[in-house]
């Protein structure tokens, strides 16, 4: 089984300068990046193979190995971001999943939290539960809120339920009993019984995934884990086999939603921690990039074809959320619209997403309101200027009209475009209905898209009490660098970084990740009345769990760091703030510090804090495994040829109402430490960087572009 192979493979033998591979499976391309033992990087982009994502991975790896002139045996580690889990949920291709519930609570999963994500919409549809009612069965058992047993577990009922599920062809079972966060004994007993007597069922108990209060959130998280468990195991086992077939026996890691990486064994047990694996690499990369450029507080801005994603890094660490909703389509920028998706209560990078990408379509409604997205022409048929069947204007068409994009071809000359088609689309669908010139209409489309993206960034900054004016914006993704400066200006942000390798930045970021495992224990007691000794005992259990998980992945105690955190709130509230604790054993002084830290964070986030009792809800532990071969961005060696591009000049419009101005077009390779004033346009293979007037740009030694905005 997958898990065993990974745990047998010791990491220590690879630390001595083996090659490392990062791999990001996107919707359109699979990016593979290889870090040579001598520090050089090699990159490959392959078309994604959606039915068998591993195929593109293998062919990409072969290609980079050939480029680097390395044998497969030279690979010491492979990190990859996978959309296998998220696609299984979106496309409903996960396992046939059953639920074992407490008598009376069969429908917790489907009842959910009752709210709808829209208002006044009588045509709304509630998402189908991942386990239908037929496969949700009840057993007699009951734990009280204080953990005492009200009614013992009826083992025969567990057996009967399991037999029934097996007969129905159920593959995976989630066990989620009421109040199991307070006492997991019944869940553990039921799980052991199933594992012993029904080896054909893959079992996830809620206490193993999320031992936290609130039955719906815990059940939903557990069911998602069960639902994707077989898919993920099959995928990882196959990938391992395919890689072995070309001679790669290095350990495989999966990017987790929290921006760390987990081994194949952990990913095969708790795949729910890796559902948001895809975007995590870019954020982790940005954190490392920030460290190498002395920018500790970053806004990470990733704009692709369909959506733009925003997250923040504070003091070098990505901001995490402990709960998110995974949904079909695009998350709206409003963060309290619940009910549209599947709730996952696991640590994840706190990402706000809006339906504003290069392919987002601009519309004018009956009342004369201009809107952009969330409908997208994607990459196929794509913007109107592609002339592949879409005649409606997209954000990319607006950029084309404004003169920002190469009028002959995009993607380093490989994708021919027709600016006339962009003009026609913008004029017909936006300019004419609003009585605006085509150029003004294009400014309007771009501006609305920028405003929408700024709103997503506000969701992760201002709504959290963080001031975007004090931060640096890191832009990547195909369209991110085209919009970054204008978005920064809307936020009052003064510094923008466009990383070298902006087009494969997520894959590169994976090479920068540490191993990380998170564990949690519910506490729920008044902080003032908490017994430090008791908490220290709990913390000890968490530390042991963390140590074991990392040891299984080859990290000895010297390479491990642990951060203990506490979820705190005022008594009576239901959302918590997570506050980090020191390394020392928990004593009264530590609890006092915790309270001070909470009050300060609360004030920063909400603007005020009362002198009221504080409640300790959970203890959390992040256990990280470190090694010295993580990709650092200050010592990068990038092939100058990759930075080549066209040069010249074209007319571009930077100010609505003013005539377009002759604007120099440069290649990335033309930039060095000498500062250049905008306007200018920098073209590279995978993106176009727009430097408007009143902004300056230079390149650092590595090739990152640093843009400064005038006040």
């Amino acid at each position: 089984m997958a898990a065993r192979i990974a745990s047998q493979t010791s990491q220590t033998s690879h630390t001595a300068r083996a090659a490392r591979i990062g791999c990001d499976i996107g919707g359109t391309f699979t990016d593979v990046i290889l870090q040579h033992p001598d520090g050089r990087l090699f990159v490959n982009k392959t078309s994604t193979t959606p039915r068998e994502p591993g195929r593109a991975v293998v062919s990409g790896i072969r290609a980079v190995l050939a480029q680097a002139g390395l044998a497969a045996e030279a690979v010491g580690e492979l990190v990859h971001g996978t959309t296998v889990a998220s696609n299984a949920i979106l496309q409903k291709t996960g396992a046939r999943t059953g639920v074992l519930a407490t008598r009376g609570f069969r429908d917790v999963l489907e009842i959910g939290r009752i709210r709808t994500p829209t208002m006044f919409d009588l045509a709304w549809h509630k998402p189908e539960p991942l386990a239908p009612r037929r496969y949700r069965l009840e057993v007699n058992e009951r734990i009280a809120a204080d953990g005492s047993v009200v009614r013992p577990l009826d083992a025969d009922e567990v057996r009967a339920a399991a037999r029934r599920l097996e007969a129905e062809g159920v593959e995976a079972v989630a066990i989620s009993f009421i109040n199991s966060y307070a006492n997991p004994a019944h869940e553990i007993a039921a799980r052991r019984l199933l594992e012993a007597e029904f080896p054909g069922l893959l079992v996830t108990a809620s206490c193993d995934v999320l031992p936290e209060m609130k039955e719906y959130e815990r059940t939903s998280t557990t069911v998602v884990n069960a639902y994707i468990l077989p898919v993920m195991r099959r995928y990882l086992a196959r990938l391992q086999r395919d890689l072995a077939a070309i001679g790669i026996r290095a350990p495989i890691h999966v990017m987790a939603s929290n921006g760390g990486m987990i081994g194949i064994a952990a990913a095969s047990e708790r795949p729910v921690f890796a559902v948001a694996s895809g975007p995590a690499g870019g954020v982790t990369g940005a954190a490392r990039l920030g460290a190498s450029t002395q920018a500790q507080d970053l806004i990470v801005f990733d704009m692709g074809g369909t959506t733009a994603k925003a997250s923040i890094i504070e003091g070098g660490t990505p901001a995490l959320t402990n709960e998110y909703e995974f949904r079909d389509g695009i998350s709206v920028p409003s963060r309290f619209l619940k009910g549209g998706g599947y709730v996952l209560k696991v640590p994840a990078i706190d990402i706000a997403e809006v339906g504003a990408g290069g392919g987002s379509i601009a519309t004018v409604d009956a009342g004369g309101l201009l809107g952009v997205g969330p409908e997208s022409a994607g990459a196929d048929p794509g913007p109107a200027c592609y002339r592949l069947g879409n005649d409606r204007p997209t954000v990319t068409d607006a950029n084309m009209v404004l003169g920002y994009l190469n009028p002959a071809a995009l993607a380093g000359g490989t994708l021919p475009v027709d600016p006339a088609a962009a003009h026609a689309a913008v004029a017909r669908y936006v300019g004419t209905p609003l009585g605006l010139s085509t150029l003004d209409a294009a400014h309007g489309i771009r501006h609305i898209a920028n405003v929408n993206m700024a709103r997503a960034i506000r969701a992760v900054t201002v709504e959290r009490g963080r001031d975007p004016r004090d931060m640096t914006l890191v832009a990547f993704g195909g369209s991110g660098p085209t919009h970054a400066v204008d978005v920064a200006r809307l936020l009052g942000t003064r510094r923008v970084i466009v990383p070298v390798m902006a087009g494969v930045f997520s894959a590169a970021g994976m090479l920068a990740a540490d191993a990380e495992h998170d564990f949690l224990r519910a506490v729920t007691s008044r902080l003032e009345a908490s017994d430090p000794a008791q908490l220290e005992t709990l913390a000890g259990v968490l530390r042991q769990q963390g140590g074991e998980a990392l040891a299984a992945e080859g990290y000895d105690a010297g390479a491990v760091s642990m951060v203990l955190k506490a979820d705190l709130r005022f008594v009576g509230q239901s959302s918590e703030l997570t506050i980090a604790m020191g390394d020392a054993a928990i004593d009264h002084a530590a609890l006092d510090l915790l309270r001070t830290g909470f009050l300060q964070a609360y004030r920063e986030t909400f603007g005020y804090a009362a002198e009221e009792p504080v409640e300790l809800v959970n203890l959390r532990l992040s256990a990280r495994g470190h090694r010295d071969d993580r990709l650092a961005f200050d010592g990068l060696q990038v092939d100058r040829a990759a930075l080549a591009g066209t040069r010249g000049e074209r007319l571009a419009s930077f100010e609505r109402g003013a005539p377009p101005v002759a604007t120099p077009v440069l290649a990335r390779a033309d930039l060095d430490a000498t500062e250049r004033a905008g306007p200018c346009i920098i073209e590279s293979y995978d993106t176009t960087i727009v430097v408007p007037p009143a902004a300056r740009v230079r390149a650092d030694a590595v090739g990152n572009l640093l843009l400064d905005l005038d006040a």
Partner: protein
């Protein structure tokens, strides 16, 4: 000033963002479950004339009441407002809805003049009065219902008025929660004021003012354009509340919607006179429910602001259950509002039949339990149970969902049990409770409570025991609600509205009504019927009885031949 469509779009987007930020701050900082878990609160931004220009995606039903409340505030305060002030009110006879809903109006100043308002409304856990939760449906006078607050300044220049603070604290059962939630309202409004300031800074006063006005005109324009396409004429529908809990008489709510050229007028003449118990709906709330119902029938993404309200005229006779006279009791007016929504949808189904569903559960049930824990400390549970949507013209209804006129959430069982001496014994669907139809209604929910304190005082407000949620276009009504008390293993039926003491280990079981069906049940595709049997949502017996579909109970497999035969026989029977 020249109108610029791009600036307009940007300012509309900014207003939506600001008001959502306000609402988000309430959610994160409030104390009580009813705000933070049930989300019974709302937020809005008004312009300098007090007209609502933007609302957060919270409880829509609160917001149609803002015009009346704002009028009350503006008539009491004008030149004597300054930055940092906050005016609160809850008096139903001076702009409020019912006492637990405390409105807070925070003026926004720019350049020394009042340029707008940030409004935050929260349902508070308790505002005093004879019954914990202040939500009793059996009060007979407003004076029994709790602390009445006329428009008064709770905050002056950023500081809470200590006199008022003490007065509120001594009159409510859980002062730290009420004051905590009031502070959350204030903090959230500050976020709105701060962001409005940035907006006005960016665009200048004149520009900002005129675009806020344009936002209202835009919504009005969209609304009028759409109403213009509706068939002209008057459409009437009556739905009925079981009773007020004190007298057995049913309480009809009769709505007549008249579509004029590009506006509608709604007349509630023929509705029941004012009742003794506390389910009278103030005129502000009646209007609010009416606006919302019409808004639900409109297409597209029309902003819900005062521009929409301009196209809707409401008349409710004074002294009726929809426009009571002082000192009528109003605490449980939500129930009546739900029935206004149902009656309005009954009218609108005749106007836009392709868009309106059959009746939903008819409003959330409220279960209030209060008493003392073992250590003597008091507890109050205000638990709300929702809900189901009726079958729709092209789709089934929904089970376990907020009433469409609200956007409530539920309180997690584990949260309730961790904080209060109660055990929830079931929270589940009730198979076969749906109204049959070509498109079936949503299933009812059951929720039961076991009392774990020595005794507990219960206020239970349900409805639709006698008048089930209606079906449309030949669909069957949903199954009515049921309340049961299990005491020492003996079961007894309870009426829909109950106020009484319970003993330790007593169990209260509430079953909500199922939602109505849409269209002829015999036209439902047999495969859909079988799928519901397979999935445990209806029984094989129900499938046979209501849909003439034969399904194997255990496997959920459709017997297509037997179904064809049964349906054919029924058709023959029908033509004879």
């Amino acid at each position: 000033m020249n109108f610029d469509p791009i600036t307009f779009a940007v300012i509309k987007n900014a207003m939506d963002a600001i008001v959502d930020e306000v609402a988000y701050t309430v959610l994160r900082t409030a104390r009580s479950e009813i705000v933070k878990d049930v989300m019974d609160y709302s937020a809005a931004i008004c312009d300098r004339h007090g007209q609502m220009v933007a609302q957060a995606k919270t409880i829509a039903l609160h917001l149609g009441a803002i015009p009346e409340a704002m009028a009350a505030v503006r008539s009491r305060f004008s030149a004597d407002l300054q930055p940092g002030d906050a005016v609160i009110l809850n008096d139903p006879y001076e702009g409020g809805m019912h006492l637990p809903d405390i409105f807070m109006f925070v003026p926004f100043f720019h350049g020394g003049s009042l340029e707008g308002w940030c409004v935050v409304i929260c349902h508070h856990t308790d505002v005093g009065g004879r019954v914990p939760g202040s939500n009793a449906s059996d009060s007979t006078e407003i004076y029994q219902e709790g602390l009445r607050i006329p428009p008064v300044k709770l905050y002056e220049a950023g500081a809470m008025n200590p006199t008022l603070e003490r007065l509120v604290a001594i009159n409510v059962r859980v002062p730290e929660r009420v004051l905590g939630d009031l502070r959350a309202q204030y903090a959230a409004a500050q976020v709105g004021v701060r962001e409005l300031g940035r907006l006005f800074e960016r665009y200048g006063v004149q520009t900002a003012r005129s675009y806020l006005t344009e936002l209202l005109d835009y919504a009005e324009r969209l609304t009028r354009e759409e109403i213009q396409r509706w068939p002209k004429g008057s459409f009437t529908f009556t739905d009925t509340i079981d009773d007020d809990g004190l007298a057995p008489e049913p309480i009809p709510i009769k709505a007549t919607v008249t579509v004029h050229d590009d506006r509608v007028s709604v007349d509630y003449s023929g509705s029941a006179p004012q009742v003794r118990a506390a389910i009278n709906s103030t005129l502000s709330y009646t209007k609010s429910c009416t606006y919302l119902s019409v808004r639900c029938a409109l297409k597209g993404d029309i902003p819900n602001n005062a521009g929409v309200f301009r196209c809707i005229e409401v008349h409710a006779p004074e002294g009726s259950v929809l426009n009571p006279r002082m000192p009528g009791a109003v605490a449980a007016r939500a129930l009546t509002g739900y029935r206004v929504f149902d009656a309005m949808l009954g009218c609108l189904a005749q106007i836009v039949p392709d868009r309106i569903p059959a009746a939903g559960e008819g409003g959330n049930t409220v279960v209030c339990l209060s008493g003392r824990r073992g250590d003597g400390s008091p507890f109050i549970i205000v638990d709300m149970i929702c809900g189901a949507w009726g079958g729709r013209p092209d789709a089934d209804g929904i089970e376990a969902v907020t009433n469409a006129s609200q956007n409530l959430s539920n309180t997690p069982v584990e949260t309730l049990e961790a904080q209060h001496p109660v055990r929830i014994e079931a929270y589940e669907f009730v198979p076969d409770s749906c109204g049959a139809g070509k498109w079936r209604g949503g299933l009812a929910l059951r929720r039961s409570y076991r009392v774990l304190s020595d005794e507990a005082f219960m206020q239970l407000r349900a409805d639709r025991m006698k008048f089930a949620p209606y079906g449309l276009a030949g669909g069957a009504p949903g199954r009515p609600a049921v309340n049961t008390l299990i005491s020492s293993d003996a079961e007894s039926a309870l009426p829909s509205k109950v106020t009484r003491w319970l003993a330790r280990e007593d169990v209260i079981v509430h079953v909500q009504p199922g939602a109505g069906g849409f269209g002829n049940p015999l036209e439902r595709e047999p495969e859909r019927v079988a799928a519901d049997v397979w999935n445990g949502k209806i029984t094989a017996a129900y499938a046979r009885e209501h849909h003439a579909v034969v399904v194997d109970a255990a496997s959920g497999l459709l017997d297509a031949a037997a179904t064809r035969e049964l349906r054919a026989r029924l058709r023959v029977g029908a033509t004879v």
